[in-house]
């Protein structure tokens, strides 16, 4: 089965090409139908692959083809199925199929409906090909391709100036990270002689990376940090988190698929995929943990005060991705991936439910919503499932994964990060239930819009229900009840004797942390407390929230303005860059070209001066000619300067 894994990305590509040929006027039913069916088949194949890999623990099956020869080295492309990859395939295809179905309702009657599906299919293909990459080069290629799809889809409504700006911003900000990653990949290629994961890992763990006389550890650290830059950009970690909330200008299914479940998780996936490298560079791993922790806290604080429903969820995504990074950083490899999986389900669910609301109300402002529980019960209860999962309430999916992470953080000796995580958990519970109460309970704040509200039909309901089921139950893939099945599955990648990594690295990766009932209770309590506070402020319409905002005016403003990070960047990087560009232009036009013009001017002035020797008197000319002749004759005769020997 594993050797057919290439079919998984191929089917969406087929769908893409097919839609490309159908053109821009294709009927919506065919477009959506083909896409959903092909992706669903991909999902089924992924399940088989997942199953097949699980049965033999050393299944790093790699199939490569020669792509390009460079000197004595080869660049290869191909596919590789590891346990991690197999899990990712399942997550990506499942969420993709559901989002493709949901979009049929959400994008109904959009002028560029087929184009939307083209882009989505291209994205699904790229994401799957990214996951299956056997080497860093191919990963980078599809890493950029998913970025491109994100750019196209964020800017899908290109005629909106905000969408145009957001698309540009998302591409450029992630490009900053990608550039670091580009350098990191090249560094690893030069130091180990190959782009292949296995070659790099064995060189890194054996300490045989060599580059310009740097020690292997230094090379590994520098390369890991550079590669982590890519992950920071893609997964919207601090300080490159600013693009993700703006990316909400794209259609909501895009936010669910790309900016919640799959693409933004690619950064986490990358760190997980390159884990042996990070483990052999402890400083880099430490950085990952701190960046993750800071991001988790910062984003959750910003999410507290946002008014736009999608932005709240977007900051929530940033924060949850921070959790995953933190987990990887403190050494809890399996928990980071586990949280990636549960988050994919419940965050896609939250976005799709929010999409359902936006579709019904045609607004994203929380303060124009309210009371939707009565009109949209299905959306309400599925959103609630997602919110409970996000808040980490027993037994929803988020509880298991988040709690594992918090427990591992404390157990691995990072009390500060644990505090960050706990505080973020409180904020998370608060902001998501703030959204829930504002949107679904109480009285409608905008009657006209409320009247108009309705559920979106079965194409939108089915994905919500399925995802709600996963958001509720996915946590049970990795609990003491099934002896941590997912952990054991993931660790099989590094099981002896086929692991490329050294033994101590494997020991680090395979480290497990026992359940701690006390900590579990603490985090659930924190979550419940957050929900309680949110309920106090927002369940019944009242002035409590406004009063609190007034009372804590400064923190409120700081949170509402996203810690002024955007403004700082705008002033420093964008403004600075523009000023520098203007300076270069000035230098180009006035100094360099000025010099050139000056040379030209010198020529013309010189010519104008010499013109006066042109008297028009032929006798003057011949007199000068005679003088010249005499000079030469004199030189010749008196051998001045040794002429003629």
């Amino acid at each position: 089965m594993v050797q057919y894994a290439w079919l998984v990305p191929l089917l969406p590509l087929v769908a893409y090409v097919f839609l490309l040929f159908l053109g821009r006027k294709a009927p919506e039913g065919i477009v959506a139908g083909v896409s959903v069916v092909l992706t669903a088949i991909s999902f089924v194949i992924s399940l088989f692959v997942f199953q097949a890999v699980g049965s033999h623990p050393n299944g790093n099956d790699t199939y490569v083809f020669h792509w390009l020869t460079v000197g004595s080295r080869n660049f290869d492309v191909g596919f590789q199925v590891t346990h991690l990859n197999a899990l990712m395939l399942v997550i990506v295809t499942l969420v993709s199929a559901l989002v493709l179905l949901f979009s049929k309702g959400y994008m109904h009657r959009d002028e560029r409906f087929p184009v939307f599906y083209q882009y989505l299919n291209l994205f699904v293909f790229s994401m799957l090909a990214l996951v299956l990459s056997p080497n860093l080069l191919q990963l980078y290629i599809f890493w950029e391709m998913v970025g491109l799809c994100s750019y196209l889809l964020v800017g899908f409504w290109y005629f909106k100036p905000e969408a145009a700006l957001a698309a540009k911003k998302s591409f450029i900000v992630t490009r900053i990270g990608d550039t670091g990653m580009f350098a990191g990949i090249i560094l690893l290629f030069l130091a180990s002689g190959s782009f292949d994961y296995s070659t790099i890992f064995s060189a890194a763990t054996a300490g045989t990376l060599s580059f310009h006389g740097m020690s292997s550890g230094t090379v590994a650290t520098v390369a890991a940090l550079l590669i982590f830059m890519g992950a920071v950009g893609k997964s919207a970690q601090f300080p490159l988190h600013i693009w993700l909330p703006d990316a909400m200008e794209g259609p909501t299914p895009v936010s669910a698929l790309i900016h919640a479940a799959t693409m933004v998780a690619a950064g986490v996936y990358l760190v997980a995929r390159a884990y042996p490298l990070f483990v052999s560079a402890p400083a880099a791993l430490h950085t990952v943990a701190w960046i993750g922790g800071i991001t988790a806290l910062l984003a959750s604080l910003i999410a507290l005060t946002q008014r736009d429903i999608k932005r709240v969820i977007a900051y929530s995504t940033v924060s949850q991705l921070g959790y995953m990074m933190m987990a990887l950083g403190v050494g809890a490899y399996a928990y980071g991936v586990f949280h990636l999986m549960t988050h994919a389900f419940f965050k896609a669910l939250l976005f799709l439910a929010a999409g359902s609301v936006i579709h019904a109300l045609d607004t994203q402002d929380l303060f124009e919503m309210g009371g939707l529980r009565r009109k949209m019960p299905l959306t309400t209860y599925t959103f609630l499932a997602g919110a409970l999962a996000l808040a980490g309430i027993v037994p929803f999916a988020g509880f298991w994964s988040k709690d594992d992470i918090l427990g591992a953080t404390l157990a691995s000796g990072h009390p500060v990060l644990y505090a960050f995580g706990l505080l973020a958990a409180f904020c998370t519970a608060f902001y998501i239930f703030r959204v829930f109460f504002l949107a679904f309970t109480g009285q409608p704040r905008d009657e006209a819009k409320y009247e108009h509200a309705h559920e979106g039909g079965w194409v939108m309901a089915v994905p919500l229900v399925i995802l709600a089921a996963f958001a509720t139950l996915a946590g049970f893939f990795n609990t003491p009840l099934n002896h941590h099945g997912l952990e054991r599955y993931l660790f099989a990648d590094y099981a002896a004797p086929h692991s490329a990594a050294g033994t101590d690295v494997v020991a680090t990766i395979g480290q497990t942390y026992p359940e701690n009932i006390g900590l579990m209770a603490v985090s659930v309590a924190v979550g419940l407390f957050g929900i309680l506070v949110a309920a106090l402020f927002y369940w019944r319409p009242g002035k409590g929230a406004e009063r609190a905002a007034r009372m804590f005016s400064l923190p409120y403003q700081v949170s509402f303005h996203k810690f002024f990070v955007d403004e700082a960047y705008e002033w420093f990087f964008v403004g600075g860059g523009k000023r520098l560009a203007a300076l270069v232009r000035w230098f180009d036009v006035y100094v360099l070209d000025g010099l050139v013009q000056l040379l030209g001017r010198l020529g013309s002035v010189g010519g104008r001066l010499l013109r006066f020797s042109q008297t028009g008197q032929i006798q003057t000319y011949s007199a000068w000619a005679t003088v010249g002749l005499l000079v030469f004759v004199a030189i010749a005769v008196f051998r001045i300067g040794g002429v003629f020997g």
Partner: protein
């Protein structure tokens, strides 16, 4: 050393050539009238002819070729003076002048 049956020494002939050339050059460079300038050019040509004839008697294999060449020069000079006079007349008809200084259309 000049041949014995030729009484005039080479130096005198060359001196004559130089004198004639200098007079011609002076005339060509300073005289205002075009006709005088043409005449001066003739003087210079004749100076060259004297040199040709003089040197034809000298050298390893003295021959008549120098004298023949001077005949050529005289012919060419005659043709040249004809062209020169024709130009002069054309200029005079056009510009009503035969002064060299007046012909300065190429000034600056």
């Amino acid at each position: 050393m000049a041949p014995a049956n030729f009484p005039i020494p080479t130096g005198s002939l060359l001196a004559l050539g130089v004198l004639l050339f200098c007079i011609g050059l002076y005339g060509a460079l300073t005289k205002r009238n075009l006709i005088i300038v043409l005449v001066s050019i003739e003087l210079m040509l004749n100076a060259a002819n004297i040199n040709l004839v003089t040197f034809s008697r000298l050298g390893v294999a003295p021959s008549l070729s120098g004298q023949v060449f001077s005949l050529f020069t005289i012919t060419v000079a005659a043709a040249e003076i004809a062209v020169g006079l024709a130009l002069l007349i054309a200029v005079f008809r056009l510009r009503r002048t035969s002064e060299v200084q007046d012909l300065n259309v190429h000034k600056w």
